[in-house]
């Protein structure tokens, strides 16, 4: 329900669309459609096109035959499911436990863990995968070596180049996403709902499982959904771990299709369409499960006081968990990076490599003009993308989950589409569309902004929708009856109440758009070059340790940005 009680039938809706109150959300929806439909269209089109003469195409199903009629199809499919399923579950569990410990318990020192938790997200994907290979490689992995010499093991205990290895390495990179979204959810939950559970004799754990998480169903489902699809479409790990391990998943197929000579975009697109269908299914299930929106309104009109669970002695267990996690998952790869960034070339830690430690890489970067330009571009883009993206998705989330306009779930689906469109396809779509566009955005960072916003709508949408479902309608209705127009209500009541989800999405988008590569690569030009491209470029040249240095600089920049943002946004929203 909403400040403008909307009818549930199409018939009475049509006159309503003339209502200025609905203008803003509808514009938002319009923008979304504009952004999402283009790549979707190009993807579908491309999947049916076969090039016969230079830039002349006929439509046929050939691509689908190539894509799905190969003897590998089945194994690939199974691998993908295991990979995606396993890793999304692992990620979700880790992220949720972390978020809960940090946000809703009295675990010691939990506050300092918050900023640390996002670090794995910042490490450039390639670097992180490599870092993990350096830790877990059966041949030289630092951890393996250490353990073997420590316990005199005959064989290395871990092997990165396996399916479990793949799942692990990918998961740890994704945990921050789950963490951020779950923290948001935990933040905006009326504790009396949990308290009453405890008074019913439910232990902390039972309460968490049977009340908290169930109340947070929409967010949990959101998170799982996005993790699953995100994993399906993720590329770095399958390429860096899967190919050597000869474990092929969906995206490695797509990657291979694009990287054969001449590139077979048709097949790539056809494969991507499969991804699209899978996620469509996911979204459909999700919207169904959250239709009875009222069930999840945990930010009630009875103003509440967020509170922490008292874990008693268990809080030390929680503390240990946090510690182990951060040392094992965040610190180690980070240290590998840091270590490398002081080296002329990757070398195992040890006395003899101590001599060659130096600040050369940083000195080099300092004097390296392109680096600073790229840095600037990236920061500007990250900030813009995050802000535009979140405001937009908040609007859409409102339309989908509060207005309950008939068919609004389609928006939800559209908002999910971009995640399934391979970056390169999106890039090419945007090129073709904007290269001859009357407004000269092409070749500027604005086209990148469009690309980024498009790409990250799904993430924003997930965090926004979870949060908006938690807001009790009467809070908005009260604004309505106080004479606040739709926009005023949205701006002064809904958004502030959304803050936890908004912040989560903002931080995530800010970070990932800082890292975005596969689309930028096609759209960036000399003076709109972004950091990720520079990074890739230098990596290709084998200046890996310089890249590590860049990674470190990125981490500090982003942590700083996030901190500032937290400070600013802390002013609005529910005061805890």
């Amino acid at each position: 329900m909403s400040t403008i009680a909307l009818p549930r039938t199409v018939k009475n809706t049509l006159p309503l669309l003339r209502d200025s109150a609905l203008l803003v959300p509808l514009v938002g929806a319009g923008v979304l459609i504009y952004l999402a439909v283009l790549p979707l269209f190009m993807l579908l089109l491309g999947s049916f096109e076969v090039e016969v003469a230079p830039r002349e195409f006929i439509t046929s199903l050939k691509n689908y035959q190539d894509a799905y009629a190969s003897e590998h199809t089945y194994s690939t499919f199974v691998n993908s499911l295991i990979f995606a399923g396993g890793s999304s579950l692992l990620t979700f569990t880790l992220g949720t436990v972390l978020a809960w410990l940090v946000e809703r318990t009295n675990t010691p020192l939990r506050v300092i863990f918050y900023p640390m938790a996002v670090i794995p997200l910042i490490l450039p994907g390639v670097l992180e995968a490599i870092a993990w290979i350096f830790l877990l490689s059966p041949k030289f992995g630092y951890i393996n070596v250490a353990l073997m010499s420590l316990f005199g093991l005959a064989r290395p205990p871990f092997n990165a180049f396996t399916l479990p290895g793949m799942i692990w390495i990918h998961s740890v990179g994704q945990v921050p996403l789950a963490f951020l979204m779950m923290v948001a959810a935990f933040k905006s939950m009326d504790p009396s709902l949990e308290e009453s559970a405890m008074m019913s004799g439910a232990s902390t754990w039972q309460t968490l499982r049977r009340i908290t998480l169930r109340m947070l169903m929409p967010t949990s489902a959101s998170v799982l959904l996005i993790l699953f699809v995100r994993t399906l479409e993720s590329f770095e790990t399958p390429a860096l771990i899967g190919i050597p391990a000869r474990i092929y998943v969906y995206t490695s197929e797509i990657y291979l299709a694009f990287s054969e000579y001449p590139p077979n975009y048709g097949r790539g697109a056809a494969l991507a369409v499969g991804l699209l269908i899978l996620s469509a299914l996911g979204v459909w299930l999700y919207t169904r499960s959250t239709r009875e929106g009222k069930r999840f309104q945990t930010v009630t009109g009875k103003a509440f006081r967020p509170r922490q669970f008292d874990l008693g002695p268990w809080r030390w267990v929680g503390f240990t968990f946090l510690l182990v996690y951060f040392v094992g998952v965040v610190l180690l790869p980070f240290l590998v990076m840091l270590w490398a960034s002081f080296l002329p070339f990757f070398a195992a830690p040890g006395w003899k490599s101590l001599e060659i430690l130096s600040l050369d890489n940083y000195r080099y970067l300092y004097g390296f003009r392109p680096f600073w330009d790229a840095m600037w571009n990236s920061i500007v883009l990250a900030l813009l993308t995050a802000t535009v993206g979140m405001v937009l998705t908040s609007l859409i989330a409102w339309v989908v989950y509060k207005s309950r306009l008939p068919g609004s779930w389609i928006l939800d689906f559209l908002a999910f589409v971009p995640i399934t469109v391979p970056g390169i396809v999106l890039g090419m779509a945007l090129i073709m569309f904007y290269v001859a566009f009357p407004i000269p955005v092409y070749g500027t960072i604005w086209v990148l902004l469009i690309a980024y916003v498009t790409r990250y709508i799904p993430y924003g949408m997930r965090s926004a929708s979870g949060a908006i479902l938690q807001i009790h309608s009467e809070l908005e209705e009260a604004a309505g009856t106080s004479g606040a127009s739709w926009w005023q209500t949205f701006w002064r009541v809904t958004l502030p109440l959304l803050r936890p989800g908004f912040a989560a999405g903002w931080i995530y988008i800010c970070i990932v758009s800082f890292r975005e590569f596969s689309t930028s690569v096609l759209l960036a030009t000399g003076d709109s070059r972004v950091l990720s491209i520079l990074l890739f470029n230098m990596f290709e040249q084998g200046q890996v340790t310089v890249v590590a240095a860049i990674g470190i600089v990125m981490i500090f920049t982003l942590v700083a940005i996030v901190a500032v943002f937290q400070k600013l946004s802390g002013r609005v929203g529910i005061q805890t």
Binding site: P54, R55, H72, I130, I133, F134, S137, K139, F140, A239, L240, I243, P244, R246, Y248, L256, S259, E260, Y261, P262, P263, P344, F345, F346, A347, A348, I356, P370, I424, G427, M428, I431, M432, F433, Y434, V435, A436, G443, V521, L522, T525, G526, D527, R529, I533, L534, N537, M538, F539, E540, Q541, G542, Q543, V544
Partner: protein, 316 residues
């Protein structure tokens, strides 16, 4: 279409009339570009290079997409031959050779491209893991069972197969046979040459079948325990060509000619690339004694070789 045979300086004047920018679709690493383009800009004042630096296949993809979008933005393309060819087949390139091309041997130029610089696929090894005396002398040495489980390579480097088949043995069968033997040592494939070099360095493999030669000198200089085989190597060509509908035809032509000229090539050498010009030597020792260049003919049969290559190593 650019004007004909006048001197570079006359051309320079014409170029300036076009606004003085050059959209260079070049696979030049920023580190190289940093050294090379300023030279060009110094040599021809008033002209600014707008460098679009991607991997060759991305450049091609982008050029084609732009064309489909109805506009050509690039002036010059400079990248792996196969991708230049790919763009040409889209009828986007100007079929015309600069006079400077005369200096180049037949296999280093075509009807619309001149080789600008070369990248060499060579064998390399980790001196920490390969004892003195065990070093490989040639590619076929890796067929020796002692290398079992110690080899790493890039999954897409079928140029190795082409090179050996077309040039070294003059027989694909022989090449296939050798590679099959090597395959028995179950080679581990890692995506990306840069990763390869790192993993070789770290010890993921003792030796690397298909590394880029130019990755090694800088690291070895800094003391990395690496060595590489310079007796023979596969030469892949980076060609230069001009877009047919280039927005700045004369500027484009100016650059194409300069890049092919001896002075241009020297600049490339200093910039850290391996010049293709017969008279210009690279600054680093990265050019193998015996080069098996992958040219138009080989690229024509790409698909065929790719198939065999994948069969040999059971790749996908």
């Amino acid at each position: 279409s650019p004007a004909g045979g006048q001197s570079l300086d006359e051309l320079h004047k014409l170029a300036l009339k076009e606004g003085g920018t050059l959209n260079c679709y070049c696979t030049l690493a920023v580190v190289n570009a940093q050294k090379i383009f300023p030279e060009f800009e110094k040599r021809f004042p008033g002209i600014k290079v707008n460098h679009v630096d991607l991997t060759a296949d991305q450049l091609a993809a982008r050029a084609v997409a732009e064309a489909r979008g109805g506009r050509t933005i690039g002036d010059v393309i400079q990248g792996s031959l196969e991708n230049v060819i790919q763009v040409f087949e889209q009828k986007l390139l100007l079929e015309k050779l600069p006079p400077e091309a005369a200096a180049y041997p037949a296999e280093l130029k075509g009807s619309y491209w001149v080789s600008n610089n070369m990248v060499f696929i060579i064998a390399a090894w980790n001196t920490g893991l390969v004892q003195k005396g065990d070093e490989p002398k040639s590619f076929e040495d890796f067929a020796d069972p002692k290398w079992k489980g110690k080899l790493i390579a890039e999954p897409r480097d079928l140029e190795l197969l082409m090179g050996l088949g077309r040039y070294k043995y003059k027989s694909d069968e022989k090449a296939i046979e050798v590679l099959k033997k090597i395959a028995v040592n179950n080679v581990e494939f890692h995506k990306g040459h840069s990763e390869l070099a790192q993993f070789l360095l770290a010890g993921q493999g003792a030796a690397c079948l298909t590394c880029y030669s130019h990755h090694f000198p800088p690291q070895i200089k800094k003391g990395a325990p690496l060595a590489y085989l310079l007796s023979e190597g596969i030469g892949t060509i980076n060609g230069t060509a001009v877009f047919k509908d280039s927005p700045h035809p004369n500027t484009a032509w100016l650059f194409a000619r300069w890049a092919a000229s001896e002075e241009g090539q020297k600049v490339y050498a200093v910039g850290g690339r391996t010049p293709a010009h017969p008279k210009v030597e690279p600054t680093e020792k990265i050019r193998p004694a015996k080069i098996y260049p992958i040219g138009v003919a080989e690229i024509k049969d790409w698909k065929k070789y790719e198939k065999t290559w994948k069969e040999i190593f059971k790749l996908r």
